[in-house]
């Protein structure tokens, strides 16, 4: 049975990408980069648009069936980063290929979402079994997550873990297994947070610790709130933000939401919230009306992929969560994230046609 393409979802995506392009121009000016940021972002958006179109044409079922085969190359890509890190040291999250850069964790996000959906569709009721169902998928996901956390990129690890956990929850894993997984993940998280030293700089300041280091860490967060709060209801006007002028860290990526808040005010941020809520509702709607479980799981995973990132990014910008370094889907500057999210949206749009 064939349904109509979800025009609302498409409109939401186009609107968010358009906003992102405008903000790339605004923040680029703020950082004294002229229009280079804008031009690069436009190119990436075009690339993402093509990706979306191809994904739409290929269809979500076909693409998700490739996920299993892509797992190993993806893990190799992630391992490659660790190899580079071992040689050069520091934090390595990107491959740089001339003018392009590739963020493997973003690719891993899509591959894992599709793989879990594929796995759950194949296993069906078997997912309720610990040894045959839960353990294998947890191991596969755990390896990739571990590799990402070693980059180190804890924000992406947490976000991706949440997405995959949510999928497993919907997939019907027993609640006691879910509970064990969540507890284990939580304990691991706490250990990792303090092993990698994020605790001192990111978590404790939020809890009110007050020393030189904590104050410096809190500064970023406060600057984001100053931007949002300073914007008020209507904002200072597009392009007229102050905070993007080196007060905010990463105004074009991690804190683009705050810049929107300052320039377009509460109406702007509410618009973004509304857009993502709408994206979530349409995505869930597409899942619910899917004609078979594979499409259902793919739709749920792709929706969660966008929703979780958006929630976490905005929670950081509003000072609810410690800094994670996650982009705001469709809006933040950053090629891989934009392309991956648009490819995902292309697949969702394809799914919207296949309603039962």
């Amino acid at each position: 049975m064939r349904g109509e393409l979800d025009r609302v979802l498409l409109a939401v995506v186009v609107a968010l990408v358009a906003l992102g392009t405008v903000m790339a121009y605004s923040t680029g000016l703020g950082m004294g980069l002229g229009s280079t940021l804008f031009k690069k972002h436009l190119a990436k958006a075009a690339l993402g648009g093509i990706g979306m179109l191809i994904a739409y044409k290929l269809g979500c079922r076909r693409i998700s069936s490739w996920a299993k085969g892509l797992l190993i190359p993806m893990d190799i890509l992630l391992l490659g980063l660790l190899a580079i890190k071992a040689i050069h040291g520091g934090t390595v999250r990107w491959y740089k290929l001339g003018p392009f850069s590739l963020q493997p964790s973003e690719v891993a996000k899509l591959v894992l979402v599709l793989y879990v959906a594929d796995f759950m569709a194949r296993k069906g009721e078997g997912l309720r079994d610990l040894r045959r169902g839960v353990l294998p998928i947890v191991v596969v996901c755990g390896v990739s997550l571990a590799l990402i956390s070693l980059e180190p990129d804890l924000g992406t690890t947490v976000a991706l873990g949440t997405i995959l956990g949510g999928m497993l929850f919907v997939g019907g894993v027993r609640l006691k297994h879910i509970l064990v997984m969540v507890s284990a993940a939580f304990v691991t998280l706490i250990v990792v947070v303090f092993v990698f030293g994020y605790g001192k700089t990111r978590v404790l300041p939020l809890l009110g610790k007050d020393d030189e280091e904590a104050r410096r860490a809190r500064y970023q967060m406060e600057q984001s709130l100053v931007a949002l709060g300073g914007g008020g209801v209507l904002g200072r006007g597009l392009g007229k933000g102050i905070q993007k002028h080196w007060f905010l860290p990463e105004p074009h990526t991690d804190f683009v939401f705050s810049v929107v808040g300052e320039e377009l005010g509460f109406l702007g941020t509410l618009g973004i919230l509304g857009a993502f809520v709408l994206y979530g509702l349409r995505g869930i709607n597409i899942a619910r009306r899917a004609d078979e479980t594979r499409t259902f799981f793919v739709a749920v995973g792709l929706t969660l992929m966008v929703e979780v990132y958006a929630l976490l990014n905005i929670a950081v910008a509003t000072g609810v969560l410690p800094t994670t370094g996650l982009p705001l889907p469709f809006v933040s500057y950053g090629g891989t994230s934009l392309v991956v999210n648009l490819v995902g949206s292309g697949m969702l749009l394809d799914a919207s046609r296949r309603m039962g």
Binding site: L225, L228, Q243, T318
Partner: protein
């Protein structure tokens, strides 16, 4: 169809997502709507900076409009330490600025704000910008400059590095000069740079200009002659005042040694003070004017009455008073002309304590003159109730009293001015932006001290002093000069007698006697060579100063004097001897019956006065100023096309300071050819290959 368990779980997940979004929306309401004002004000606070816009401090000018002090745009540099490479920063800035390397380095190693250099010129600023040192910020402010160097330095005073007046006229008129600084709000970014935006500002209001009564040329002449005299007599110091007796306007007020107003901190306080008003000295015989004036006014003795001068030694209340030369019978007139202490004491005894004291006060001794300069002192003149038995005698001859130079100049100006004491005037007017006169000072008569009749007689006496008496060295051919010498022993520091062999030699005089236009006081402290009498040491300085002032082109007095000089019979036209070696010039002059008088050092006559073509009486003097010793005179040659080395050699020979930029041959010079060379002139040369 999708199994029910999935749908149920998805529903739960949807609820969870909905809860999260609702939570974030509420958080946004709180931050953007609830705390909006607090965050907005913090945003403005952290991104706005209130910059001070410094006002340009007013100029200080002389009466002819020569600029004595002005504000130039300067560039200052600061840094918030720690930043950049402290070693490189300290090394480079210690080269362009005044702060030594190690001082700068130790400051840069600490935390906080550090001035790296202040008030640099345009060229240095270009160099600093070229270094591109990280963290270094530029701040444009004004720096004080004194284009005539140390001319009138003690009168002008100086400012601190923030442009606040600290001494002299800079302090006295600070309120007028400083103007009002403005401010501007600027938007800054998170890294200390600027975001262009139109924000409120208040422009600065520049300070007003002060026009002094000083004449820079007269001032330079006085300073040069005092310096020469101090060197000639190996004296401790010298000071002098040139005034217009009729108005009380001070044309020159000088103290040597001088200091560099750009670096006052390098000099002792004593050098920086304007000692003509802040320091006192025992006047000696110049103070006899009080006794003489009182005696004439009170008619206790007439000019031709005789007094016995005790053949040089006289006991008063156990104290012995002496005359420099023993005299027998002298008339009152001769007592003044020959400066007999004993004669003066005998006249004072006829007057009595009260009268003498009253006249001394009337002439302004023992009180500030009220000149508009800071730090003036009263001097010491005790009331008769505090006098001892010999005080009357001592005070009559200028001992047991201490005066300031300005008091003495004013007292004689009163005599020259027909008995009317004027308040000494140092400021002509205060001019606002665009030359608008804000305030004009007028000559201010204080009181009549003596009658015109008495004043006329006193002038006659004083003319006699120069004609026949102790002040013969002050004679100027063709002009009627009135004056009085003074030779006082220097009191020991801490009191209790006088320092053996230490004298203060002074001369105060004015001319022309029939209608005085110019008054000059010279005080030389502790001359050690070439005599110590006022008539020997100070009177020649008076003569040189007055002669040079009168020969200044365009001086209102010079025409009158020139005309007066022309009336005398045998006149000789002075040939041009500039450019000749001194012996040759002297030969030429003696060939036409004129005496040449050489001053300064150097191999060539740079300047002569009277100038070529002027007429002087036969037997008169022509003063030749030699070049090469840094003494003013001569004109800057055209240096264009010369190698920098050659140009520098020539300028050095003229005593002119040199600053060079570039290399190769001179393409530009400033000041240009033909500009008069003064003490402290600096010529800037630009070379190109």
């Amino acid at each position: 169809m999708i199994p029910k368990v999935h749908r149920r779980r998805l529903f739960l997940l949807t609820l969870l997502l909905g809860a999260c979004w609702t939570g974030l929306a509420l958080r946004l309401v709180q931050v953007q709507l609830g705390d909006n004002e607090a965050y907005a004000s913090r945003l403005e606070r952290q991104s706005q900076l209130r910059l001070k816009l410094p006002a340009r401090r007013g100029d200080i000018l002389d009466r002819k409009g020569h600029i004595l002090a002005l504000d130039l745009e300067g560039f200052s540099y600061y840094i918030f330490a720690p930043a950049g490479d402290p070693y490189r920063t300290a090394r480079l800035f210690s080269e362009v600025g005044d702060v030594p390397y190690y001082v700068l380095l130790s400051k840069l190693r600490r935390k906080g704000f550090v001035w790296l250099a202040r008030g640099l010129g345009e060229r240095e600023a270009i160099a600093v910008r070229r270094w591109k040192l990280s963290g270094v910020r530029e701040y444009k402010e004004f720096r004080r400059a004194y284009p005539m160097g140390d001319v009138a330095c003690q009168v002008l005073g100086y400012t601190d590095v923030d442009g606040k007046g600290i001494e002299g006229a800079e302090l006295e008129f600070d309120e007028y000069l400083r103007g009002r600084s403005g401010w501007a709000l600027r938007r800054r970014n998170g890294r200390g740079g600027w975001i262009p935006e139109d924000l409120p500002m208040r422009p600065p209001r520049d300070g007003a200009d002060i026009v002094l009564t000083l004449d820079a040329e007269v001032q330079s002449i006085l300073e040069e002659e005092l310096k020469a005299a101090v060197e000639r007599h190996r004296a401790r110091s010298g000071m002098g005042i040139v005034m217009v007796p009729r108005t009380g306007e001070v044309l020159a007020m000088a103290n040597v040694p001088k200091f560099d107003p750009k670096h006052p901190e390098d000099y002792h306080m004593w050098t920086r003070k304007n000692r003509t008003i802040t320091d006192i000295y025992e006047p000696g015989s110049t103070f006899k004017i009080v006794t003489a004036a009182a005696a004439l006014e009170e008619k206790v003795i007439s000019p031709e009455d005789s007094l016995f001068c005790e053949e040089g030694a006289f006991l008063v209340a156990g104290g012995r008073f002496r005359d420099a030369h023993p005299y027998g019978w002298l008339t009152f007139r001769e007592v003044v002309e020959l400066s007999s202490n004993i004669g003066t004491i005998k006249i004072a005894e006829k007057l009595g304590k009260g009268v003498l004291y009253r006249y001394a006060r009337a002439f302004g001794f023992g009180a500030e003159t009220g000149i508009d300069l800071p730090g003036e002192v009263k001097g010491i003149l005790r009331p008769p109730s505090a006098w001892s038995g010999r005080s009357l005698a001592s005070i009559a001859v200028g001992q047991e009293v201490s005066v300031t130079a300005i008091q003495m100049a004013c007292a004689y100006a009163a005599v020259a001015n027909g008995g009317m004491l004027m308040r000494p005037q140092i400021v002509l007017e205060v001019k606002g932006v665009g030359g608008k006169v804000l305030k004009r000072m007028k000559p201010e008569p204080l009181r009549r001290v003596i009658s015109e009749e008495t004043a006329r007689k006193l002038v006659e006496f004083l003319e006699g002093v120069v004609e026949r008496g102790t002040g013969r060295e002050a004679r100027i051919p063709g002009a009627r000069v009135a004056g009085k010498t003074g030779t006082a022993q220097r009191p020991l520091e801490g009191g209790g007698g006088y320092a053996p062999g230490e004298f203060v030699a002074s001369f105060v005089g004015f001319l022309p006697a029939e209608d005085p236009e110019l008054l000059c006081l010279v005080v030389i402290d502790t001359p050690k060579e070439g005599g110590h009498y006022g008539g020997q040491v100070a009177a020649p300085v008076f003569r040189r100063v007055v002669e040079r002032v009168l020969s200044l082109p365009g001086h209102p007095l010079s025409k009158r004097i020139q005309e007066m000089l022309k009336r005398t019979p045998e006149m000789v036209r002075v040939p041009d001897v500039t450019g000749l070696p001194p012996d040759e010039a002297l030969q030429v002059l003696s060939g036409i019956g004129v005496k040449g008088e050489v001053q300064g050092t150097g191999g060539v006559v740079m300047r002569q006065y009277p100038e070529p073509g002027c007429e002087v009486p036969e037997g008169g003097r022509v003063v030749l100023t030699l070049g090469g010793g840094g003494i003013s005179g001569g004109k800057l040659p055209d240096l264009k096309g010369l190698t920098l080395r050659e140009a520098m050699r020539r300028l050095k020979a003229l005593g002119v300071g040199v600053r060079m930029y570039g290399s190769g041959r001179v393409v530009k010079q400033s000041p240009g050819a033909g500009v008069e060379v003064r003490g402290g002139t600096v010529c800037i040369l630009e070379g190109r290959r």
